[in-house]
Symmetry: D2
């Protein structure tokens, strides 16, 4: 579950829905643990009784949003984006920040399933659209697809 | 909660007790997620209804021991030892492996409380014993002390 | 200097030119140290008397291409992409791999100058093209621009 | 080449000698890039015409000491200690800080040769001295031994 700290209301609503749906499906929601899309996804997961993990950029658990169950301060700064990807069986990307873009790219690089909602479009040097990420309009459907692609119950 | 994968029965018993006591105290047990002392601590925590987090060296959640609730594959190899320390509010070290020694050192370097049970003694170049780590014989007392030193409920 | 291991001949020629021009300008060429675009850039830099640094994903200096002067095995896997960005004052991206995309994104996220040659186009969720990366057709001009944007002599 | 930022004059003199000798032997000196032992080793290496690499904890190359040829800002904080070890074919440890101790431990864990000069003594839980690190009084001899143990020309 990746997405930026600065997000509009539609992104936040989408992230809430994704988090809630992931929780319903039994997936653990792993994210960067801060505000914006990350917080909305955690809030959604929490509302559905799910477990949330925040891999934080800094050294203090206190920077986690209040809906993170397991706060992991990493001290890695933005390098923790790679850790969020490594820790996830599939990635749902919401919104259009550069951090989110880095996580999409790292997940595609690692061969992990990526489902995008209201996020970047990637155009290859040839001018062709890249088809590595599956683009889905409906956030709940995105969560369903991610869990399905991830295999049994991981998130 | 740090300690090695290769451990004798006394280390394993101590780790089980530490994990169980941490869970009773409401602390989340964070460890490297593999076998030996790590597995014993997770088993102890689970037996007391606690939550366990395993920060794994590899890329697959499947390498976690069966008592890890939240498996975080990091792909960092032994560099994940630093992450275990960063993610912890206090460290309880059990046993005498080099990985455990690295975690003791990184925690002391970061100014975090370290409680040692059946682990390394550190002698400064001057010949004086280092007093950065608190050495405790009783594993349950070590857990109590770690939680106390960590402040409110972190582990 | 970022770019993938699998690259066509035009990408390789562009990377060679970028590396050579960076060296002429006195910049150290930092890259991932493997083959393809990375090797071509190092070869270019070496041909112009420059210094090359390879931040390798694995644990062995032997995996560096033969034009790396300073091989740094990191053991970080693809997380070393973030390190390549952190270590660079500006980024020149050549080619269209996902690893390259991750480095573009991480550099933009960190607010570092990014100059792209024959690489990804990024389209925001709004449908607008992202203008964070400067796109340049001529590889030598890309190197000039990167050094200029990076400030005094870094690369 | 590992050692702390806060060091006495004997440690600094030893580090200078180690750095100079490593350079004479053709080894690249890799260190944490800051002051104290790190700076003394770089100064020594530079005095003998050697190449020095500083893997810095922060994000700015400006924090490197003036004798670092290749400054690599990592943004990893103290986790960069593990990177210094990963990047080295053998480790020479000078002085008694906790960061140095962590690097000794990580190197021993990774099975890399470690030569200690005026540094920690490690006592196993059994009360036996650990013999993983070779202790040498003479700094030049320590450098010779490290290069010899590392194999052909790495440092």
């Amino acid at each position: 579950m990746v997405g930026g700290g600065a997000a509009g209301s539609e992104d936040l609503a989408a992230a809430f829905t994704v988090g809630a749906r992931l929780a319903v499906l039994g997936a653990v929601v792993v994210c960067g643990g801060l505000g914006g899309v990350m917080e909305a996804a955690c809030r959604g997961a929490r509302s559905a009784g799910g477990l949330t993990v925040g891999l934080l950029p800094g050294r203090s658990a206190a920077e986690a949003n209040p809906f993170v169950d397991v706060a992991v301060p990493t001290g890695l700064g933005e390098l923790r984006n790679g850790l969020v990807v490594a820790a996830s069986a599939a990635v749902v990307a919401v919104g259009g920040g550069y951090g989110t873009l880095s996580e999409i790219a790292l997940a595609l690089r690692a061969g992990k399933p990526v489902v995008g909602v209201r996020t970047w479009s990637l155009v290859r040097p040839s001018g062709d659209a890249d088809d590595g990420m599956v683009v889905v309009d409906d956030p709940a459907a995105a969560a369903d697809l991610a869990v399905s692609l991830a295999g049994a119950g991981a998130g």
